[in-house]
Symmetry: C2
Subunit: 212 residues, 2 copies
């Protein structure tokens, strides 16, 4: 898959500080995601800190404010920019809007998201607080392919961290975030460098024994 081919052009969508984008960028710079390059960093928040950091890194950026646009029109505007940048894979990095069929359909099984819980537990907002309130002893993160649901697509990678007695939401979130930074690059590398397929809800890596 990787190797001598042209790099896979990865687009990033973010709404905030973009810490997962920065970790992914650093991993690519270190050569940990062979065959990937970041082609565009786009946002629904023109003043997003992550967008400014992308500019500082010399990356192409694009933003279109979602306010005043309906969801489909907003995504069509993003899609134009992603297509101009010839983006092939899309990585959501703290993109705080649920995707509509416009974007999901434009990148079928080529959109990744990362969520700060061990899905299917604690989907949605404030996953870390949900986990603490529920009293779990183990937390973590999930990298998954994006479908039309909320944090519901097939899972590519999960990493766990302990929940410590006395953990605050901030302390647990910071521990999970470290695992996110490792999991996202790992998942993207596997998807770009190994054969894989989706069977039911399972992502199966390795050669398809049914076709051998």
């Amino acid at each position: 898959m990787a190797g001598q081919q042209a790099p896979v052009r990865v687009g990033i969508l973010l709404s905030g500080r973009g810490s997962n984008f920065l970790a992914l960028h650093a991993a690519i710079e270190r050569g940990e995601v062979p065959g990937a390059e970041i082609a565009l960093v786009a946002s629904n928040v023109p003043e997003a800190v992550g967008l400014a950091k992308a500019k500082d890194l010399g990356l192409a950026t694009f933003s279109v404010d979602h306010r005043g646009l309906d969801r489909g029109d907003h995504e069509r505007a993003l899609l134009v920019a992603l297509r101009v940048a010839r983006v092939e894979w899309l990585c959501l990095a703290g993109y705080m809007r649920k995707l509509s069929p416009v974007l999901v359909g434009a990148f079928p099984r080529r959109i990744l998201n990362i969520h700060p819980s061990l899905l299917p537990a604690f989907p949605g907002l404030h996953a870390q607080r949900q986990a603490l309130d529920y009293g779990v002893r183990v937390a973590g993160c999930t990298v998954h392919l994006v479908d039309d649901g909320l944090d519901s697509g097939p899972m590519v990678e999960q990493r766990t961290v302990p929940v410590n007695d006395g953990d605050t939401e901030d302390a647990l979130s910071a521990r999970i975030l470290e695992s996110e930074h490792q999991a996202y690059a790992f998942a993207l590398r596997r998807l770009l460098s190994e054969p894989w397929r989706v069977e039911g809800r399972r992502v199966r890596f390795g050669p398809d024994s049914n076709q051998m």
Copy 2:
């Protein structure tokens, strides 16, 4: 706590082969749960393999078939035996019936269960198959205090295992079972030897800072 006091008398409820009972018994024999002794192994299935193994180990056993009895009457019969054996803590080890308020109320926050998933994901039957079908990348087990719900009480310990590509339900179940055998003894040891309390849904170990 532990120490010079009389051992804590632990009752076991099981319905099948009792592998978690045997692992707990072995851990106690190895001195890994100081201050605990198994006072009675009871079952709703007179022919349960785990019950026969308890007899072989020289432990006191008791069974009362649940068939033909309503749930409350069945549990009252078990409760008589548990009280005669002066049981203080109850450990469910593959006990395939949901407890009613009769037993839950008789041992408030003194009943432990182990479930082969990372709760709150995949409660109920066939948790390992549920996890495989859902496509999780990490699975595990949960030791929790039993309340009136299904696999819903405050959690004491969780252990994780990887899900491998190509895992069958049997392969994953065996891997989770190994983690169960470690987690159950660990959880019981902590509960018997450390200060702890329940705050909301969280089990908090350590001294209560609000009372220092």
